[in-house]
Point group: C2
Chain length 396, copies 2
Amino acid sequence: MAPLAATATLFPCKCSIGREPDASLPLKPNKNMVKINGNSATRVEVATAVASMTPPIGMRGVDEELAVLPKSFRQNIPTKKQTTDSYRQGVLILGGVGYRQTVVIRSYEVGADKTATLDTFLNLFQETALNHVWMSGLLGDGFGATHGMIKNNLIWVVSRMQVQVDSYPIWGEVVEIDTWVGASGKNGMRRDWLIQSQRTGHIFARATSTWVMMNQNTRRLSKMPEEVRAEISPWFIDKKAIKEDVTDKIIKLNDAATYINSGLKPKRSDLDMNNHVNNVKYVGWMLETIPESFLETHQLSSIVLEYRRECGSSDVVESRCEPDENPKPEGESVDLFGGYPLAPQILEGHGILGPFHAWPLSYTHLLQIKGETKNEEIVRGRTTWRKKFSIIPFSS
Amino acid sequence: MAPLAATATLFPCKCSIGREPDASLPLKPNKNMVKINGNSATRVEVATAVASMTPPIGMRGVDEELAVLPKSFRQNIPTKKQTTDSYRQGVLILGGVGYRQTVVIRSYEVGADKTATLDTFLNLFQETALNHVWMSGLLGDGFGATHGMIKNNLIWVVSRMQVQVDSYPIWGEVVEIDTWVGASGKNGMRRDWLIQSQRTGHIFARATSTWVMMNQNTRRLSKMPEEVRAEISPWFIDKKAIKEDVTDKIIKLNDAATYINSGLKPKRSDLDMNNHVNNVKYVGWMLETIPESFLETHQLSSIVLEYRRECGSSDVVESRCEPDENPKPEGESVDLFGGYPLAPQILEGHGILGPFHAWPLSYTHLLQIKGETKNEEIVRGRTTWRKKFSIIPFSS
């Protein structure tokens, strides 16, 4: 049998990146790629130690007795490739190298408009990526690293993430989430996702991300060891969820940004099992900096994130946001009624949408840690938006 | 065939309760029962209007075209009783009146210790309750109300909730969540839950809740109309998840409370599809008021919540918290190693747990809206806790 491969990834493990660039390191799969620093890594060390205690499948009975113990390992990690996972409704696709999971959008995964939130998408991306690795039989520490990576003290760090949303599935919708991986430069990995309607095949959202390996002791980016390449490269395919990947570098916002939220502090519940602030929280901080009245009338159509540095539980974060100058393209119309575009003046005047402010439809974002002497970037972002249509209620 | 019944419930719909008691209303299923007020109900009216637009199953195709439209109805609501739901892995149990759903604990549903959070339990309680009603064939507006309730302009409001946690399932654990309903007094309904290991049957958590009906126009509590009783009473069974229900009234904390968090403001993402602050957020605000160092070393073993009033998106909330006076029972020991209790001095001295503060193990809570002239109670709570065992990492 060919070597089994794990294709790792997880959002929470953004880990310490940024600060001191290391010129000796040739790793440049992407010009926006993360840089390197020399932080210590207490938290990750703890995680690894716990991982090394992972028991074989079937040891659950003992564990049952220890109600007071945190059960610090994922249950039932297979040591061989699995083709189906009935409990998670997962199955290998794309000739056995991709993963598809069927999920129903739950009542608490939707917002006030009863459609899935962006948070839900990001959560499901993380979940399906980890389940993909789980199916591969090579999941070691539960955070997406392969056995070869663990042997080499390597962890995955995400450097870039892009999501395009066509529409948001509603509460109760059955969706299929496909995910697969490919090469990114010489030492990186790309992971893509598609979210589609199980019934109609309509694609709700597409996403792509770039990952590199970091030595968890030195906190430096690492080349991909041959041992790890042998594990994961059999899973690589040349297939892109997003055809035209946006690669323009996101500008760094300065303190003249139009909207600034300061003093943002992670709460206990914002920390994931890596004890880092979860990626979903980052996006929340970014989007909450946009004015409320805009968020009420618009929905996100795309987001690009460039990760620079992790955010720990004691950091105080500032979120900056700058709208684009051009409020909206000329003659824009919205396709509301099955292919019949309405003229902008109907939509935007005193017509069915009522009068509203002409907001810009794209924003640049920056999250940074406010330090005493200098600030440190966590993540830069770009978002684009489209107008929401408001249903005017009938009296029943 | 016997009349089909829906058994409603949902946490988000705590709705406007409290303030002006109405002496004319004989409804007293519980001495801590919610009171009545005369608020207007714009949000709920909108919800109902949307509900009245709910299309029959199979109209999805049209909807697919309207990417910009919020899809404001739950998909595929059955009009007849269903016995299985393959996508949600749900099945009717207890002779066809209870509901069981099998779920896998996801990577983003666990905390830093890789076990499911209390939030996850509360979310799954809401989800399974709504899916239970969905299976009944009587779900009307998607918020848990039956057709008879909608006809009578009635919605469910929760007055009380109690959760007991024996232990928390780990990431990847397959759990079965059972839920069923029963009578509570003459006009109320009880809904219970059990969360158990699919593999071993070990019961992780038990919960019970009490619900009453409110007229959404008058905002007054309502008797259960005969029409609604005929729908739901065939689903009632006399089975209790928690044998000894705690019924002691929770005292109201005054401004001398030891811990107070003020200025808490709901964010957009804290609002559910009812445009109310979600119940899970309430619990978050309560627990975050307990000191961090306590939360790091303890896990919640039970919570009781008494709901008084809804919290809207513009309210500013204060969370008060008071520890019990008695720090801990004498001679307490913790059963860590499969039935071999360790002496307290080993656990609490400089032994495996290291030195730590002797914290009280129960707390009283209050969430209230800070008004200009007076405060209004949202919810009172009681929590009990047990010590966590900390794994000291080995170097690998």
